[in-house]
Symmetry: C2
Subunit: 149 residues, 2 copies
DNA sequence: TCATATTGACAAGTTACATGTCACTATGAC
DNA sequence: GTCATAGTGACATGTAACTTGTCAATATGA
């Protein structure tokens, strides 16, 4: 029955996430990054300079916490503040040369590992899995809200 | 490319888990349970009486934390201590009538919701997704360990 | 019987967040 | 321009879900 399979799939999300984040964390050893500062740098790497609230929106966590993560990356000179023409009080955060090299190296290493894993899977099944998981996530989301829609 | 799809699938595990746990949490409103005490009761419901270390092993978290969760369920009389013939100092934890009714109601409600969701999916795609996610989790697990195997 | 392991209880520490407040700064309607 | 309203950085505090360490009581097995 689909119901039971779906139930098992839902509860597999936690082990998958834990395994994934542990693997990422291990890949971060020696870089001085944490899983969360890695996430900030990845946003800047993928989308270019952004303000703290913009990064927070992308990461779907609140701006106050992102602020502390960004402050850490500023302190370790992985990022810098740049003048924001659109808002004088809210500078754009951008990668420094070091920051760019660091995150690029991390992402490249991760992609290499995933490339190795990918050999055990074929395109069609992964595409199906991705589609199912995406639809499932969207279907579950409203159920967690105050007033489920 | 399979690699990119796989990468996206890996990073979807967190949103899926968050959506799933938020939905579970919402279903717990009014029962006095938390996501974690629910997990303890579910183990007892599915596998029968168990000691604290046994529950911890099933949940893959440490016994000290499980002990505090179990103590909460004992305090709210959802569970009771029963003599353990195999170990005098480590009682078996079992559901009370109230505990059994509570967890049965919660699980039934969850299964009903999943049943509704299941109508948007077909058996084959969910089976494929489950298989991919299981294999992916097992493949990622060793990468997070000290000495990746 | 005696070394070793298991268990419950308790204390602390940690991580990854959320929430609330303040002062400052923009922005847009007028 | 002016003024209500919203966005922002900084800071403080709170919280859930853990981990780690320790101790004394108790088992277990050679």
């Amino acid at each position: 029955m689909t119901k039971d399979l779906l139930y098992r799939l839902i509860w597999l999300s936690r082990p998958l996430m834990q395994a994934a984040e542990a693997a990422v964390d291990r890949g971060l050893a020696g870089t001085g990054l944490t899983v969360r500062t890695r996430a900030v740098l990845e946003i800047l790497h993928d989308f270019g300079d952004a303000t703290v609230p913009e990064i927070a929106h992308r990461l779907e966590i609140n701006r106050q916490y992102v602020q502390t993560m960004v402050n850490e990356t500023l302190a370790s000179e992985l990022t810098v503040r740049r003048a924001n023409p659109r808002h004088r009080a809210s500078p754009l955060i951008g990668l420094t040369a070091t920051g760019r090299e660091t995150i690029a190296a991390v992402l490249a290493a991760e992609r290499k590992l995933v490339g190795d894993l990918a050999q055990s899977f074929d395109d069609a099944e992964v595409a199906t899995a991705l589609d199912v998981v995406q639809r499932l996530t969207e279907a579950l989301r409203p159920l967690g809200r105050e007033r489920p829609a």
